[in-house]
């Protein structure tokens, strides 16, 4: 206020200075891979609690709307589900039997260490990307709960994404359907590796993401095949379910295959996620 009374600094110079500053910060944060720092801390303490509060209001609205919508279908669904329950109970029994068999076999072969039960922490999604271009979101756990960068995030049994930035009480997660995201995946039955990348267009249109560079024998892999994270990925733990192949076609080079994957996680209604506290040990 005092400065303005003397003579005001021309706005266009200020604009130039600030532009230069922004570009500088962009370069610094890009090259040094820094993010926020003190800004993160401040933002975490100021905004995260408020986001939590408002988000619960938003969820309340949505659940009320859903209730009204679903009431009509509930009775019909109930009958269908009852039939399904009977069917599944029988199925479950066979699966249980198989599970016992599997367990005993695993014990025999000491395969336990291959699929260790990871330590996980549950977190709630409290905000999603403000633009319509990307698919990152913020969860309400941060370094205080032991979350670090590059930790894997899952929901149910499927892969959700990866932590790309942490503050004291929040963490930024980039989901696998984000247009800028790539995961190294492999098919479960044949362990052929491929690259899974998020795609805004196909996700909006058909709820699928893309995979490419799958090298496999002819007619081995078809729709319905499970894709899991591969053993060579340096950030994703091995064997987390990404999704199911929904379409596959041979590339024009006649060597590799590409197609689309339906993610195992329902990203539309995602509210709670699990962060795996074990990080992949990568050779450095």
């Amino acid at each position: 206020m005092r400065r303005r009374s003397k003579h005001s600094f021309p706005t266009r110079y200020m604009l130039l200075i600030l532009s230069g500053l922004c570009v500088l910060i962009m370069f610094v944060s890009f090259t040094l891979n820094l993010s926020g720092g003190p800004l993160n801390t401040v933002a975490g303490y100021v905004f995260t609690p408020m986001q939590k509060g408002i988000n619960s209001v938003g969820n309340w609205f949505v659940s009320r709307a859903d209730e009204l919508k679903s009431l009509k279908n509930v009775t019909k669904e109930n009958e269908e589900l009852q039939a399904q329950v009977d069917e599944l109970t029988t199925e479950l029994n066979t699966v249980k039997l198989e599970q016992y068999e599997l367990d005993s076999l695993r014990e025999l072969f000491q395969l336990d260490q291959k699929y260790p039960s990871y330590k996980k922490v549950a977190a709630r999604i409290i905000g999603s990307d403000s633009s319509n271009w990307f698919n990152t979101f913020v969860i309400d756990k941060g370094t205080k709960d032991g979350i670090e960068k590059d930790m894997n995030v899952i929901a149910g049994s499927g892969l959700v994404g990866i932590v790309i930035d942490v503050g004291p009480n929040y963490a930024k997660v980039r989901s696998i359907i984000d247009d800028a995201n790539n995961v190294s995946g492999m098919t479960l039955s044949t362990t052929d590796r491929c690259n899974v990348n998020g795609n805004l267009e196909s996700m909006n249109e058909n709820q699928v993401i893309e995979f490419s560079n799958l090298k496999c024998d002819e007619n081995v892999i078809g729709p319905g095949e499970q894709l899991v994270t591969s053993n060579i990925s340096d950030k994703y733990l091995e064997g987390i379910l990404i999704g199911y192949i929904s379409s596959i076609k041979r590339d024009s080079n006649n060597l590799t295959y590409s197609g689309t994957v339906t993610p195992a996680v329902d990203f539309k209604h995602l509210q709670e996620v699990l962060v795996i506290l074990d990080k992949k040990q990568s050779a450095k």
């Binding site: 706005t11 926020g36 905004f47 209001v57 609205f61 949505v62 403000s130 990307f134």
Partner: protein, 172 residues
Amino acid sequence: MRRKITVFLIIVVCFLLQTTLFQTLSFASIAPNLLIVVVSSFGFMRGRKEGMWIGLFSGLLVDVFFGSVIGFYALIYMYIGYMNGFFRKIFFPEDIKLPLILISASDLGYNLLVYFFLFFLRGKFQFGYYILHIMIPELVYTIVITIALYFVILKINQKLEAIEKRSASKFV
């Protein structure tokens, strides 16, 4: 000081609503861009300087929470605020045509920049798809929200200006 706090609160509320409530209330996974409305309307109501600062602050907020590099959105929002400041001379509060045009132009410009830098340069060339399925729906949704939000911002700004005028005349 009163103005700074009020503007800060407006930005915070809009940012929070945009990232939480409107994301859950989105149609066809498209949510409106409230921050553009705030930055743009303060730009043409208050001039280049305020538009610039408000844009910078809003952009930084987005950067910290959702940006891949700090400073990218700050730069875009800052220029949007600054550009809108040029139209202060022909702005009249009663007329809603100019705000609507400016805000839609800002939203479109913002999305075009985001598309160019973050999608086009990564080799995603289906411009037609993105304009039809991302930019235009967001534009329409934002305009619908603008009609309500703009008048709120306008009323707050007029209140603030009245208070400022009163306290200024007290000193004289």
